[in-house]
Symmetry: C2
Subunit: 170 residues, 2 copies
């Protein structure tokens, strides 16, 4: 049910076409809620049917510019402030850990080493992004920066955990 709220959240900042929104979903938002082109266009039509968005303008090449309605804003506000975030998360990375006793110790250590390295790489990428964000004094980037901080801390935690696990197993 969250794709609809992701779309509403973006449209709450200003009108946009499905194509515009797609760029955002491929960018920063991909870290919180990835979505495909197919999904997006379908969701926009459903949102329009429900009255949460309207086609505010039509442009060249069949472009449809969507705008959020009052009902859409109300639904979005309700979702942000009153709906409990979903705690269930699947992790096939962690799932493998449960079964590491089924492979050679060498293979298990290799697995954890790759996890640590991958986490370190993703951390470095986030850190670079943070440098850029921090050097611009754009107040609109404030919440993106808080989400980015989550990524920084998560990847760091993941790396440290994988290193700890290697020491414990090794």
């Amino acid at each position: 049910m969250s794709l609809r709220h992701a779309v509403l959240g973006l449209l709450a900042h200003g009108p946009a076409s499905g194509y515009d929104l797609l760029k955002t979903f491929e960018g920063s938002l991909a870290n919180a809620w990835p979505a495909t082109q197919s999904q997006l266009y379908g969701e926009l039509n459903k949102l329009a049917d429900s009255g949460y968005v309207t086609v505010a303008a039509e442009g060249p090449r069949g472009r449809k510019e969507y705008a959020i309605t009052e009902a859409g804003r109300a639904e979005l506000h309700h979702w942000i402030t009153e709906v409990e975030p979903e705690r269930v998360r699947r992790s096939d990375m962690l799932l493998r850990v449960f079964f590491l006793d089924l492979v050679e110790r060498r293979e298990a250590l290799d697995y954890l080493r790759r996890e640590a390295e991958g986490a370190a790489e993703r951390h470095a990428a986030f850190a670079e992004l943070a440098l850029v964000v921090d050097s611009t004094d754009d107040p609109l980037a404030e919440h993106g920066r808080i989400a980015l901080e989550w990524g920084l801390r998560f990847t760091k935690m993941q790396q440290e955990w994988a290193e700890w696990a290697q020491r414990r197993l090794g």
Copy 2:
């Protein structure tokens, strides 16, 4: 595609019925890969069709005890050691953070406070579990303990992040 590997991983430790497996999916494994009864029974039939498991014995009340085959073990080993874990994760908790500029500052701080509190609670629950696990010298619990450590570190990170975010916003 990971439910099948979760099932294979459990059966690699010994034969079990769908009903048996369900208990495990409701327990420790729920933190890494939750699954419903409906999904499980369906997957077991598919795995049997593919030759990854066989019905090793039948018991009272239509009970079917499944056992992993050599092909199943090979597939499981391949998955653990060679298949790259999926990095894409959706988080509606993080998604809301991107849109926190759309609500009152008071509401945004409330949201982060609730996140911090929830993380602290989940951390405490994990910590209690860790005490139990650490006091038993069961070598089989070793990998479960490593997964548990991930939960411990994740919830701690989440709490600290939410507190940091409150200070930054407030």
